[in-house]
Amino acid sequence: MEKFGFAESTKFDTYASRMMPREEFFTSGHRSCQGCGEALAVRWACKAIGKDAIIAHATGCMEIVSSAMPQTAWMHPWIHVAFENTSAVASGIEAALKVLERKGRLKGPMPKVVAMGGDGGTSDIGLQSLSGALERGTNFTYICWDNEAYMNTGIQRSSSTPFGAMTTTSPPGKLSFGQHTWKKDMVAIAVAHGIPYVATASPGYLFDLYFKVKKAVETPGPAYIHVLSVCPTGWRSATDLTVRLARLATETAVFPLFEVVDGRYRLTVQPPKIRPVRDYLKPQGRFRHLRDPEVEFIQKQTTDRYQLLLEKCQASCAEFVPVHVPEGI
């Protein structure tokens, strides 16, 4: 697939689908809602991860829909322990693999270690174990499925819920217009750990997601991918709009697609023209209550933050801290 190069799929080549691997590692029969963007992202991420990998998953939608005893939708070796410790479990796996390899007890290639969790499992309850694993330079990839609320428990707000969005615990009311905090910037937090690879991805651009996951799992040391996972149930949107909405998120610069390689920012999908955020908000029932002042505030914040991102892409030096002191020092 070198023809596409790493995360170069700015052009959505119509026939690209036919050249992508057909093996399904996240099998049919999982019980996600109709039109689940998260399941679509997981399906493609697992293709990119490939056979030789071990996955640790946090409690959440993707864990519940895929692992109802006695059935499992996972073709990878897969472990779920609890909600807030996925990165710690992953660092235990990584430590064990290192020992097995050093003692010659590792048959086959060194498996990639991948940790997965939802936005709640990553930016709220799981942030501590994630930060620990990143800071320790653990050789693993963390993928956050961000559907922007606690969907498995019935759409409660998380720190990743966007400003103004309605959830069952950030309802609009006489005294409230919904979520009153701006979405926590997990990508910035990941970059702040000085790790070699960070990226955003979404099921709107599946091959962009595919190549970023491939690049992350092949990057030695910690890598973090933040995936905007459209959730028709939680966002009160039509089930057939999932991919369209994901693309609109990038076209309106609400969710830009970029990667940060050794601290250097690079846009991987450059919409020809940035559309107004209203185009993205309109098809979603969770924003229907917003009035113009709130939409304008969202527009302004989105424009400013996109501008900052573009500037970061031109930055002269890298936001990077060598987790491992290179040999010879």
Binding site: S17, S28, G29, R31, T72, W74, M75, R244
Partner: protein, 96 residues
């Protein structure tokens, strides 16, 4: 566990509740969930496979002739219809 899952005895549950066979979710027919399903107009389909790509269920399979069709796992969400490059897929109500 071949037995119906709610007839299994405690002795038959693997140590630690480990599921030793991967991908057994395939035994669960999510097709029961749909109330409508996609139908392809082969005269306009260009066999590009985008529908196969965007299906969250891997619920679309390429046929020997290169065209694509839904399989038993389709939940009827309609993403393929919306994303089809030539717009040649449409949803048809399940006959009850």
């Amino acid at each position: 566990m071949s037995k119906a899952w709610d007839q299994v005895t405690w002795q038959e549950i693997e140590v630690g509740g480990v599921l030793t066979e991967p991908g057994t979710a395939r035994n669960y027919n999510t097709g029961d969930w749909r109330s409508s399903h996609p139908v392809w107009d082969k005269t306009r389909c260009i066999k590009c496979g985008v529908c196969w790509t965007v299906c969250p269920e891997a619920g679309i399979t390429e046929q020997p002739d290169g065209y694509f069709e839904m399989n038993t796992y389709c939940k009827g969400c309609g993403i393929c219809v919306k994303e089809c490059v030539t717009g040649c897929i449409k949803m048809v109500l399940e006959e009850s």
